[in-house]
């Protein structure tokens, strides 16, 4: 088990939502896709989701699936409404200049190998 704090620090991610005690959020699995319907079936509760999509719909999906954190890749920038909604739903939005492939590789190295 890896905490979100470790992930943020190791992967040098920028936190877009309000600061929280990230050491209290445990990440048990990972999933990546840029197609929301695939995420719907693939992403697990308490997992991290890596995606290039930055629009408001990712928050709704994460909230429904109880995914605590989304890593938005390639510097894709969510708008203010998306960030506000994420804060409301207590979903952590993280940003990185790297692509999905790179980030997933780093998460794998951290030991997050479960997909369910």
């Amino acid at each position: 088990m890896v905490t979100l704090k470790t992930i943020i620090e190791t992967l040098d991610l920028k936190v877009l939502t309000s600061p929280r005690d990230f050491s209290q959020i445990e990440i048990h699995s990972g999933y990546t896709s840029d197609l929301l319907s695939c995420v719907m079936t693939g992403a697990q509760p308490d997992g991290v989701w890596v995606t290039l999509i930055a629009n408001i719909n990712i928050v709704a999906v994460a909230s429904l699936l109880e995914v605590p954190a989304i890593i938005i890749t390639e510097n894709a920038q969510p708008d203010e409404a998306t960030i506000a909604r994420a804060n409301q739903e207590e979903i952590v939005l993280l940003s990185t200049p790297h692509g999905n492939y790179h980030i997933v590789g780093m998460l794998w190295q951290l030991g997050i190998k479960d997909t369910n």
């Binding site: 309000s18 929280r20 929301l36 319907s37 629009n55 709704a60």
Partner: protein, 316 residues
């Protein structure tokens, strides 16, 4: 800020609620009322005895109901170091007191603790008579107790909701939720599904059932947003033994339902695909999530999608 260390841990949700409570609770609700006081004619040795015996870290010096000073452990240490423990408390007490009023909100006391270097505040009533003492520990305890009460209240609501059906007698009891879904309203996409999922959880559905219904109804909701002419409606009927979810619209209808059920088949536009939709998995996902799914569609009357989830007693 280091003064607020007792409140700055734990997760953000709790912090926010703690802040709210700081504005809701009055000092009188969290202060210690059973106050050990000293009188001006007491000696430092008496103060030491009282403070030790009562396991406190300081006590106010009171004359005719009014606080004229405060003796803290620091003052005791000073008198011990001077070897003057036989002196009057008035010689060593701290004057120029910082106090707070009992009817003020807790947040005011927190501000005072953060600004001034004091460990305890004498609490006065409107007539400036001492009615209690307040430490940061009292605030923490008060807030934790209030949070606990919150939690119990929420549990009670949840309990009442989950026993809703048992309390009502009828031949067939059901609860119906209806949501109007607006065409192209991507901004609120998923809002109805989220409400539905939360309602199901409140009513005592398991995490699994709530999640599966949530996913199915989300896909249906997004279909209404993306593919309809005028948007449509979601209708969810919750009964003790099953959940029936229905999405209906007035057009344009699905041309070939069999084809629409093929994984990967999508009629979504490039623009919609760019938002992450249009994987051609919506109906496929729905079929995977619910126990029964059926579609009626025609160009004349639009599309009706029915989804049913059965709840057996053990999993709900």
């Amino acid at each position: 800020m280091s003064d607020q260390v007792t409140l700055s841990d734990s997760d953000a949700g709790i912090i926010t609620r703690v802040e709210e409570l700081g504005y809701e609770l009055k000092i009188s609700q969290v202060m210690t009322t059973n106050v050990v006081t000293l009188s001006p004619d007491m000696h430092m040795i008496d103060a030491l005895d009282l403070i030790q015996k009562n396991r406190i870290s300081g006590a106010p010096v009171v004359q005719n109901g009014e606080v004229i000073g405060i003796i803290s452990t620091e003052d005791l240490i000073r008198s011990l170091r001077d070897g003057r423990i036989d002196r009057k408390v008035t010689d060593y007490m701290t004057r120029g007191l910082i106090t707070a009023k009992a009817n003020e909100k807790v947040v005011e006391a927190l501000k005072t603790f953060a600004k001034k270097n004091v460990g305890r505040l004498p609490i006065l009533d409107e007539n400036n008579k001492l009615v209690g003492m307040l430490t940061k520990g009292d605030i923490t305890n008060g807030l934790l107790t209030a949070l606990q009460r919150d939690y119990q209240a929420e549990e009670l609501i949840r309990y009442r909701a989950s026993h809703l059906f048992e309390d009502i007698e009828s031949d067939r009891t059901s609860l119906i939720l209806r949501y109007r879904i607006i065409k192209d309203d991507f901004l609120h996409g998923g809002a109805a599904s989220n409400h539905i999922k939360k309602a199901l959880q409140r009513l005592g559905a398991s995490r699994q059932i709530a999640r599966r219904c949530g996913i199915a109804v989300y896909e249906a909701e997004m279909n209404l947003i993306i593919h309809t002419t005028n948007g449509g409606f979601l209708r969810v009927e919750i009964e003790p033994h099953k959940i029936t979810m229905e999405a209906y619209d007035d057009g344009p209808g699905i041309e070939d339902v069999e084809k629409a059920l093929t994984p990967g088949f999508s009629t979504a536009t490039e623009q919609v695909r760019n938002k992450g939709f249009g994987a051609g998995m919506g109906l496929v996902n729905i079929r995977g999530c619910v126990d029964e799914m059926s579609i009626k569609s025609s160009k004349e009357s639009g599309t009706n999608l029915y989804m049913t989830m059965y709840l057996d007693k053990t999993s709900s």
